[in-house]
Symmetry: C2
Subunit: 365 residues, 2 copies
C-alpha cells in the first residue's frame, strides 16, 4: 500500500513523496533562501497548416544544464547541500518542474489571441518531475520490483490528480534516458506532462480506435495484441497480465509496445495484481534494452493513456519504449524524412530487433 505526503517547496511549487513503508518522516522543510520565484510564459500557438499546436516556452532557454553530480538537484538534501528534495532520503518523489513547458500560472500573463489565422492561448498545463529513486547511480532498469510498484502507484496517482485539473486534457508519463536524448540531469527521473490539449499522436490513435470499434465492434489494441501473440515473432515478454512486443510497423530501430491483456483506459484503472505484474514486465523490457549495447542504452519510454475527457471506453492503455541508437555509436537522427515529412525510416527489421531484444542474436552481427 503506497502512501503519499504532499508539501510545498520554498517558491510555492508542490512536492509529493510516495512511500511503500508506512511511517516515514517527510516533513523536512525546504530551507533554500536563494531560490527566486519561478516565472513562466508558456503558450500554445495553433498552426492551421499542420493542424497542431506548438508550445512556446521562452523561459526554458535558461534552464539548468548538466550540473556536476555533487550538485544534483534531484538527490536528497544531505550534508548541507540543499536540493529540490528537502528530505534526507526518499523512495519516490514528484515535484513541479521549475522550468516547465506547460504552466497553469501562464494563464495570468499570456493573453488569448483569436484573430485567425493567428490563434494562441496560455499553455495552461502542468509539468512534473518524477524522481524514481534517491540513489543517483541506480537506473530504472536496476530498481527492485517492489520499488517499481511505488513508481507505478505514483504515476497512477498523478494521472488521477492532473486529470482533475479543468484545463488538462491529457496526462503523459514518460522517461527520457541518456545524454543522446538531451537529458541534462543524470539522476534517474522521469516526467509527467499534463497537456491542455490531446497530443496529435494520441488524438489520431483515439480516432483509429473509434473507427475500428465502429466498424468491427472490437478494440484495435486487443486485436493487435491477439495477432502479435498468434504470430509470436516479435514478442519480447508475456506474463499473466502483460504482453510486450516489437510492433509490426516499428518506427525506431528498437521499439517495444507493452500492453495489458485486459481492455482498460489508463494507469489508475490497473488492479493491484496488474500493477505488481507490470513492475516485473516493465523491468524485463528495460533490461532487454540495457543488454543491447556495451554502454547504457538511451531510451524514451512513455505511457499512452486515454485522453481525460474523450473516448475513455474505446481506449486501451499501452506503453511505448524505444531507443534512438541504431548501432553501437550510431544514432537514428530525425532528419528530412522524419522531421520534415513525418515519415520514419527504420534500418532494423522489427523481427530482427525482437530477436536481439530477446538476446537470441547479437546486435553487432
Amino acid at each position: 500500500m503506497t502512501t503519499s505526503y504532499a508539501t510545498r517547496l520554498v517558491d510555492g511549487r508542490e512536492l509529493i513523496y510516495y512511500d511503500r513503508k508506512p511511517g516515514q518522516d517527510r516533513t523536512a522543510a525546504d530551507l533554500r533562501t536563494d531560490l527566486p520565484p519561478a516565472f513562466t510564459t508558456s503558450q500554445m500557438r495553433w498552426n492551421p497548416l499542420f493542424r497542431d499546436y506548438a508550445v512556446i516556452a521562452e523561459h526554458r532557454q535558461e534552464r539548468t544544464y548538466r550540473p556536476p553530480a555533487d550538485l544534483c538537484p534531484l538527490c536528497p538534501s544531505r550534508d548541507g547541500k540543499r536540493t529540490e528534495i528537502p528530505a534526507s532520503d526518499y523512495e519516490v518523489a514528484v515535484f513541479e518542474n521549475r522550468f516547465p513547458s506547460l504552466s497553469l500560472a501562464s494563464a495570468d500573463v499570456i493573453p488569448l489571441i483569436d484573430e485567425p489565422p493567428f490563434r494562441s492561448a496560455a499553455a495552461a498545463g502542468r509539468c512534473e518531475v518524477v524522481c524514481f529513486t534517491s540513489d543517483h547511480d541506480t537506473p530504472f532498469a536496476q530498481l527492485d520490483p517492489e520499488h517499481v510498484r511505488t513508481v507505478i502507484d505514483a504515476w497512477a496517482d498523478r494521472t488521477t490528480v492532473l486529470s482533475a485539473i479543468d484545463s488538462v486534457d491529457y496526462v503523459f508519463c514518460f522517461e527520457n534516458r541518456g545524454e543522446e536524448i538531451g537529458v541534462t540531469l543524470s539522476h534517474p527521473h522521469g516526467q509527467i506532462y499534463g497537456y491542455p490539449f490531446v497530443p496529435p499522436r494520441f488524438y489520431k490513435t483515439g480516432e483509429a480506435l473509434e473507427r475500428h470499434r465502429a466498424r468491427t465492434g472490437a478494440c484495435l489494441q486487443c486485436d493487435l495484441l491477439a495477432a502479435e501473440c498468434a504470430d509470436g515473432a516479435r514478442i519480447i515478454t508475456s506474463s499473466t497480465h502483460w504482453v510486450a512486443y516489437v510492433p509490426f510497423a516499428a518506427r525506431w530501430p528498437y521499439e517495444v509496445r507493452l500492453v495489458p491483456r485486459r481492455h482498460l483506459p489508463d494507469l489508475p484503472a490497473l488492479t493491484d495484481d496488474e500493477r505488481d505484474d507490470l513492475a516485473h514486465a516493465y523491468l524485463t523490457v528495460l533490461q532487454a534494452f540495457e543488454r543491447l549495447f556495451d554502454t547504457p542504452t538511451p531510451y524514451i519510454a512513455g505511457w499512452q493513456q486515454s485522453p481525460v475527457r474523450r473516448g475513455r471506453d474505446v481506449w486501451h492503455l499501452g506503453a511505448e519504449i524505444f531507443t534512438i541508437r541504431r548501432a553501437p555509436g550510431r544514432l537514428k537522427h530525425l532528419a528530412g524524412s522524419e522531421s520534415g515529412a513525418a515519415v520514419w525510416i527504420n534500418d532494423v527489421a522489427p523481427e530482427v530487433a525482437a530477436q536481439r531484444l530477446r538476446g537470441e542474436r547479437p546486435v553487432d552481427e
Copy 2:
C-alpha cells in the same frame, strides 16, 4: 536555360547532369570495377494505431559512414579516384542513392501482405542524391544565384520525372546539413524522395487546405502569407515573387517558411522570373541561418509541394527551413514530448527568432 544529360552508373543506377553552360561534355563512363550491384529490401508497413506507414530499409544499416574527405563519393572523378560522378567536373548532378530508403526494385523481393492488422508492401519509391556543386567545400549558402538557379531547375525537373512514376505519390526535395543532423557526407548535397504514399504531414496539410477552401473559398497559405505581411514582426525577407517568414506557431528554435506570392502547386509550376527570384530569396534565408552562430548552422530544408495525384488546385508551394540548434553548443532534442507525443516545445519565441535571423539581435543575448 538549363540542359540535362542522363547516363547510368556501372551498377545500373541513373545519373543526370544539369548544366547552365551549353556544350559541356558529360559522357565520361563509370569505370569502377569493384562496385557490386546494390540490393534493396525497402518495405512500407502500416501502423493501424497511428495510421501511418513506417519504412523498413534493412540494407541501409550497412551504408557508407563518414568517409574521409579524400574519398568523398560526391566529388568529381579525378586523379585516378573514381567516385559516384564519372565526369571530371560538373555543375549540378543527381543520381540514384546506392542505399535508398525507398526503391522500385524492392517490388521484386518484398511480398504484399494484407492480413489485417498486418499490412505491408514494397516501398516502391525512389531516392536520389542531388550534388549541389562539384566543390566539396562550398556550402549551399555560398553558391552564386545563377548556380542556385540550376539547382532549382534540377529540383523542378526531378519533380516532373518522379511524378510520372506510377507508384510515386509525393516528391520531397530536401537538404540535411550538418553532422548534428546525422549527415554522413560533408559534400554539399541534398536528397529527393519519391514516396509511394503522401507523407502524414503533407496529407494533413492537404486536408487543412481543402477544408479552408471549402469554408472560405480562399487559400489558407495565401491567407497566412497576407496575415504575416500585415503583421510584419516575423518577416525575414520579401521580394517580388517570394516572402520568407518565421511562422507564428514555429516548432523549431529557428524556422522559416518561404512561399511564392502566386498561388501555385509545385516547383515545376514556377516561371523563369519566379525561379530567378527564388535563387536570391533562398540564399537570403540560408545566409540568415549561417549568420546565427559562430560555427556552421545545422539545418533541414525541404520543399512542401502538392501531392502528385491529389488536391493540386488547393495546394500552395512552400519551403520549410529550420535548425535543431537552440543556442551555441546546444541542440533541440526530440525527446518524450516530441518523439512520443508529437508535441513540439520551442524555447525561442518566433518574434525573437525573426529578429535574430534578420540580424537585429544577437543570438547569445
